[in-house]
Every structure is written in C-alpha cells, then in structure tokens.
Symmetry: C2
Subunit: 204 residues, 2 copies
C-alpha cells in the first residue's frame, strides 16, 4: 500500500507549504489544485466553476435547511445545485482514491483524511495564531496585500468556517478536532521547514 | 528566560514517557510527581492527601454547584474542601513558577501551559487511540494488568473527564483543543521515541 499523508489546514497557516516541502523531502506526489483540474476534466464543467464549488465560495453552501426553504421557490434550481455539489464531491473522492493507488502522495484539503481512511494515512492538521496567519496571507497574496488586519481576519475566519462546514458535512466529524488527526501542528511555534524535515526524518 | 515545555496528556497516551525522553535529550529538568511532593512539603499536608486532591480522585471535584447545595447541610465541611483545592492549586502554581525560574524544564500536566504562559512555553498535548491506551495501561501498570478492556476503557475515560474538568475550571479553556497547544501528537501514529528525537532536534 502506498504511503498517504493528508493535510488539513487553517487558511493562511502554511499547510500547503508544509505539504510541498514534505513531498520534496519524501520524493512523493503532491496534490491540491491538480485534483480540482482532474475533476474538472471528468465532470466536463469549466474548471473555474468547479473551483468555485470546491472552494465553496458560492453563496449556497450545502444548505440542507436553506435548500428546503428555497425548494418552494426554485425547486429545479436548488436540486441542480445540490446535485452539482454531490457530483463534484463524488468525483473528487474517486480522483483521490486513484491518486492514492497510483503512488505515495501528500494531499492537502478535500477531506482526504476521511476519504482515504482505508489507506491508513498519516493525518496532519496545520494551524497557527491569527496574527501570523494575517502576516502570512499578506506576504503571500497580492489580493490580500492591501486588506486591513480586520478585513483579513474576517476573510480568514469566513474561509475556515466554510472548511469546517464542508468537513463536517461529508465526514460527520469536527474539523480541527485532534482526535481526527495524528499530528496537529501550530506552524507559528514549530516553523514549516523544521516541521517538514523532522517528519521526513521520522517517515523515511 | 528558561525554556519551558509543557505536556498535557490523555491517560495512557505516553505523555510522561515523551516528557522524560525529551528531558533526557535536552538535558533539562522534568517534573510531575516531584511537584506534588514539593507542594506537600509546603502545605504541611500528608502527601497522599494532596496527591488525592491533585489527582482529583476525591468524590467532590470542584463542585461549585454541588458545593452550594451541600452548603446547607455541611457548611464547614464543604468550605474546608474548596479551600483545600484552591490552596493546593495556588501552591502548585507557585511551585511551577519557581521551577520555571530555576532552569529549563519540562512539566507534565498541572495546567502548566496556562500557569506558565508568561514563559512562552512550547505547549504539547499527547493523545492516542483508545486501543493503544488500553494496551499501554495494561503493560505499564500492575493495577491495570487484570482489568478487562471494558473496565480499562471506563477508567481511562473517567480520569480524562477529571482532567478536562480540572483544566477547564482553572484555565477557562477546553482541554485538548488544538488552539491551546503548539503541537498535538497521537503517540500511536508517531511513536514516543521518534517524536522526542525530532522535537529535541528542532529545539536544540
């Protein structure tokens, strides 16, 4: 069985960087956006649209209750949206399973810890203090560069709220709860580089 | 400022072993029972009694509500117990602060992460799967050796419930919530020895 490492992460915590560094050190595949592209190819939808669904930027985000309310107004529309969500998730799960069958790999996000539990993955969750997440976002993204601390804080909290809902919806478990992971690391206290090197050392 | 590492841990997870190994590798002081003994000397109470209070084996465990109810029945008795709890905690906090002033140290349990936050400690939380905690308890303790899985599970859950209450009472925070720690590690997935060596490598 191939080695699978999954990384859940708070927005701006450096989880992607940890994944990439670890993939380099362990010489194994790294997936995040690639998965979405693969899904896009399969579902025959425009990648941007899939990206929007997967990143749950859409206004309607698995609105089980809202969905029912809306049902009276736009039954076809809501059903269509829910079907799209489910289809994207199912495709995504298939792709993840294929990736894990193909080679050792590191997968960031996408409930991979849950979807690939049969592969006995090493499940990592990366988080950080709000202050350092704000600093990281500002340093890494042109889009975030000109936002105030308050605006960035709001953005980070909103994205993580979406991730928590997404995770909880599909896994029935609480996002970020240590019992769902093997290692939860504050990337502010234990820097990404050192963390990746240590993990690689343990895993090699 | 001395380096302080605090370790919170689920019962049977190997947190003490991690602390001891790390203390050896970093050549620094290690405290757990020693602290209790120190407290016992200071409060002039028999060590066994203090141990009982600190380990919260007593039937009355910070019973703020129960305390009030009981107050009508045994006012002196309840007040005395609550006073003892508070006195033990305060003494314990003093001792922890003295230890941290004295030298680099690793402290297991006792809300040290909260009490010593001024020392900017590296805050570790150790946990493990129930199965491996049961196996560990059985291997490490004569007392637990002859308990059934069911009995051991019940014991582990009860002790951890006490720890969670104790932590929450004194810190106002949730025991085991990743946001209160810098590293949460599942000692089943990442074995104690390797974890200690990696941390020592990062911290040296």
């Amino acid at each position: 069985m191939n080695r699978v490492i999954t990384i859940g992460r708070e927005f701006g915590s450096g989880g992607r960087e940890l994944g990439k560094r670890l993939a380099e050190l362990l010489d194994c595949a790294y997936y995040d956006k690639e998965i979405v592209e693969e899904i896009a190819k399969r579902t025959q939808l425009a990648e941007g649209y899939v990206q929007q669904i997967v990143e749950h930027r859409s206004g309607i985000f698995f609105p089980i209750t809202v969905g029912r309310t809306l049902h009276h107004v736009h039954p076809a529309g809501t059903d269509y949206m829910l079907k799209q969500y489910t289809s994207v998730y199912a495709e995504q799960a298939n792709v993840l399973r294929e990736m894990a069958e193909k080679s050792d790999c590191i997968i960031v996000g996408r409930c991979a810890d849950h979807i690939l539990k049969g592969h006995d993955p090493l499940r990592i969750f990366v988080y950080a203090d709000m202050e350092s997440k704000i600093a990281r976002c500002r340093a890494k993204s042109e889009e975030d560069e000109h936002l105030s601390d308050k605006e960035l804080r709001k953005k980070i909290l909103a994205i993580d709220k979406g991730r928590a809902k997404y995770y909880s919806h599909y896994t029935g478990k609480r996002w970020g709860d240590h019992s769902n992971y093997d290692l939860c690391v504050n990337n502010y206290a234990i820097p990404v580089k050192e963390c990746a090197e240590s993990l690689a050392h343990i895993l090699k």
